[in-house]
């Protein structure tokens, strides 16, 4: 199939992956104070793992080819929960301590900015590809 927008497959996969990352970050922020997850333990911070995907159609050719990206899995961050003194809480232990997720809002916001900058960079690629396609289509016209 002809592809007027060169590199659009890689860019589309990247936009998809960055959107998943933003969703995971918003999930972390939303659950920053969740002391009882479905397994009864404090919520564990999630993070995405990116991996490149090779274009199947071109993989057989010699040399490198257009490479997309995908989220292969969403990992649980294994850092231990923070202990906070809160004797009023229904889930507090004998010492009045309660385990809350060790999620730093600042860390998540920094990640969110990185994700949205990457998203913008990929959108710039699409804009350029569009301009280039229009120029190619007008070859021979004055």
């Amino acid at each position: 199939m002809i592809n007027l927008l060169t590199g659009i497959n890689a860019t589309a996969s990247a936009l998809d992956a960055e959107r998943v990352r933003m969703e995971v970050i918003s999930q972390n922020i939303a659950n920053a104070n969740l002391t009882r997850d479905v397994d009864g333990k404090p919520y564990q911070r999630r993070q995405v793992v990116f991996e490149k995907i090779l274009n199947q159609a071109q993989a057989g050719n010699a040399g490198a080819s257009e490479t997309g990206v995908q989220v292969v899995r969403i990992e649980k961050d294994q850092r231990p929960p923070r202990l906070v003194f809160d004797p009023e809480n229904a889930f507090a232990d004998a010492n009045g301590m309660i385990a809350v997720p060790d999620i730093s809002i600042h860390e998540e916001m920094a990640d969110l900015i990185v994700a949205s900058r990457s998203f913008e960079a990929n959108l710039a690629v699409v804009r350029n590809a569009r301009t280039m396609a229009l120029q190619t289509l007008s070859i021979g016209k004055r």
Binding site: T6, T67, S118, M132, Q135, T136
Partner: protein, 126 residues
Amino acid sequence: MIDALFNQTNYVAAKKMLDATALRHEAIASNLANIETPGYQRLDVNPSFAVELSQAMNSNSSQIANLQPALVSDTSAIANGRDGNTVQLEKELISLNQNSIAHALETQLLTGQLLRLRLAITGRPG
């Protein structure tokens, strides 16, 4: 006979450069897509293509048609972090814009050559 109209050195070379530009855009798209993939090595058009093209233009113009740009991973790029990724956002955005301007130049070169040919055939501009 009619083939000779489209076999001028500059015309064929401009077409090859346009191919390379489109391929470089593909490389940049891949690089920006994988800006945070651990271990990713940035892609680029093979550096030998530009050398071979200028050599072919100087010596034997019939060789130009056989040249083919290809994507290779850029082994000279240095990883900017511990994850082994060699993509740098600023550099890629600059080459994205350079490439876009190069594309505009090459399409205008081709258009100019085609319009001159039409002028020669019809005697009317446009």
